[in-house]
Symmetry: C2
Subunit: 144 residues, 2 copies
């Protein structure tokens, strides 16, 4: 558990809380702010390189992993299994994603949340998580 580490350092509610805000970690966080779409770790690494920020690929992966675990970024998988990341709002939500351009809309569905947990309870499954993503073609891509 990460919760056993000493938490006196850093604010408990900010991204990168409880860890050293190193140049590399701040750079990854900044890159995520720069994007509005889901991006792969390698794309983020590439953007950092273009910006002149030298950050090792392993560090990008480690940082994204940490941010995902702390729910500061959303991670989902493309059709072919690649992990992609996006800085999202704090509340639980899902995504409406354009399969052409990647434009993303956050969506909430309290009824769906209730439905999934009732289904799980009904069958005795514990420690539930769920994935729900909607893919389509946005207006811009339909027009273009």
């Amino acid at each position: 558990m990460t919760s056993t580490e000493h938490q006196e350092h850093g604010r408990a509610d900010a991204p990168l809380a409880g860890v050293r805000p190193t140049r590399q970690r701040l750079a990854v966080a900044a890159a995520l702010e720069a994007f509005d779409d889901f991006r792969s770790a390698q794309e983020i690494h590439e953007l950092l390189a273009q910006r002149g920020e030298k950050v090792g690929l392993a560090t990008v992966y480690r940082t994204l992993q940490r941010l995902t675990e702390s729910h500061d970024v959303d991670m989902l998988r493309t059709e072919d299994g690649e992990a992609i990341y996006r800085r999202c709002s704090d509340t639980h939500h899902h995504h409406l994603v354009c399969r052409e351009c990647g434009a993303t809309v956050e969506v909430e569905g309290p009824a769906v949340e209730r439905w999934t947990s009732s289904i799980a309870a009904e069958h005795g499954y514990a420690d539930i998580s769920h994935t729900l993503e909607i893919f389509g073609t946005c207006t811009a891509c339909t027009a273009g």
Copy 2:
């Protein structure tokens, strides 16, 4: 395009339609019938080996790929990106999957289907598809 191949052979509605029902392909199909849970390609390959059916791993992958494309099996990805396969019912449904043992329950949620299409329409997205999977730990795995 696979649609350019001659399709006169085989029934158009059966699994493996339009391709030679070779020993290997039949063995993979049989293995899928034997399982009631989602299984990875490598697990299926291993089962075939245990049964004495010698089928190359590449052939297992190729066959599963073909069956997935023809919608004769469902393919989804575990939380760490691995593809898993299952022979399912024909109607549209989603899954409640044990992340330990793969035990699967098919679930239907008409309300969810309606919700996803209304969300999509609301934002002007067209040509909609969606993924919805629920992961948890089944009673057997919780007990064990």
